[in-house]
Symmetry: C2
Subunit: 186 residues, 2 copies
DNA sequence: GTCTATACGTTGATAGAC
DNA sequence: GTCTATCAACGTATAGAC
């Protein structure tokens, strides 16, 4: 694992545990097993590091979810796939999803440029527009639908993270909660 | 307005704008128009101040929502009332709801004792149990229902805060989105 | 209760050798 | 690219006068 990866991984762990500003760069370097100066060789400022970590983590989620979506699938399959895979990734990558959540509700979030903001979200929005046009989805404002879907996903994720569920039970919950959502928006 | 209120109000504003740790106590005192020492007369540490502010703000929300819930009402009316009033308060108190959100996804949240954690949530959960028992609500795990309701509320709140809606339009959105939720869980 | 002044540790960031 | 050494600035918290 190259230094940059170790640094990001250490930063993630500490940020989730203590928060951005309560985590000194010195501790990040120590946790990563590199010198303090090394960290500043890769990132000019601490803020730059935080932003890079956010983009990196968001990118991992996208990389996990997007390849599993195919234009060939029915619209329901597309939504089901995005839904299921987002939740699965979040549960399997607890620290990463906690970090995304924490970052998104922090003031730093406003520093992310609209383009960088979640290619994920853009894709979902596209499918929503298509769904409305083809009357698969209810005729509601697209961004209302988007926010309802996203919130629903984060709700179920929270629920799964709070309890300890077997893989089988977890899949059952995801499946059933998707039906609830799908019935709601179609 | 007494000093303690001014301090909390100033802290809230700055925390929302810059985050907990990026906001020095000196700036809070300055914004509040009091001396640095005065702040530490009321709160022994900065962390204590943050926790107090959270409880204070959460209390304001509860005070707004709970009195409007009556045991006399039908279960649907109770849910509708909690739903509507929570969203209304959040939209009218943008900074406060942003702070609650930010605090809840921060590591500090784990410092809140279960009892302090949201009398709001406890009440909602009670009604959910009642709804399941009387078969008004779908037979699903109570805390899954709770998280779905809560997430739905925060989704609609986000949507309303992102756009600029007239009061009339806003009420219409709240009403319609409640119907969506209600259909989903009954 | 409120203020001023200040102590003292910590932190982000730099310089420069290897 | 990576390290060690270092610093200036800052931030929390305290002491003590009023």
């Amino acid at each position: 694992m190259d230094k940059i990866e170790v640094i990001l991984k250490s930063a993630l762990k500490l940020f989730v545990g203590f928060g951005f500003h309560a985590t000194p760069t010195s501790k990040i370097a120590k946790e990563a097993g590199v010198a303090n100066g090394t960290l500043f060789h890769y990132y000019n400022t601490k803020e730059e590091l935080i932003l890079a970590l956010y983009k990196h983590t968001q990118g991992q989620l996208s990389t996990y979810v997007q390849p599993k979506v195919s234009k060939e699938d029915s619209l329901e399959m597309v939504f089901r796939s995005i839904y299921t895979n987002t939740i699965e990734w979040s549960v399997e990558n607890k620290a990463e999803s906690a970090f995304i959540q924490q970052f998104s509700s922090s003031p730093l979030h406003s520093l992310i440029s609209p383009e960088d903001m979640n290619s994920q979200a853009a894709i979902l929005l596209d499918f929503i527009h298509e769904g409305i046009k083809t009357a698969n989805l209810k005729h509601l404002p697209a961004d209302l639908l988007q926010t309802l879907i996203t919130s629903h996903i984060s709700g179920v994720t929270q629920y799964l993270l709070a309890g300890e569920f077997s893989k089988v039970k977890q899949n059952k919950i995801i499946k059933e909660s998707f039906e609830l959502l799908w019935d709601m928006i179609t």
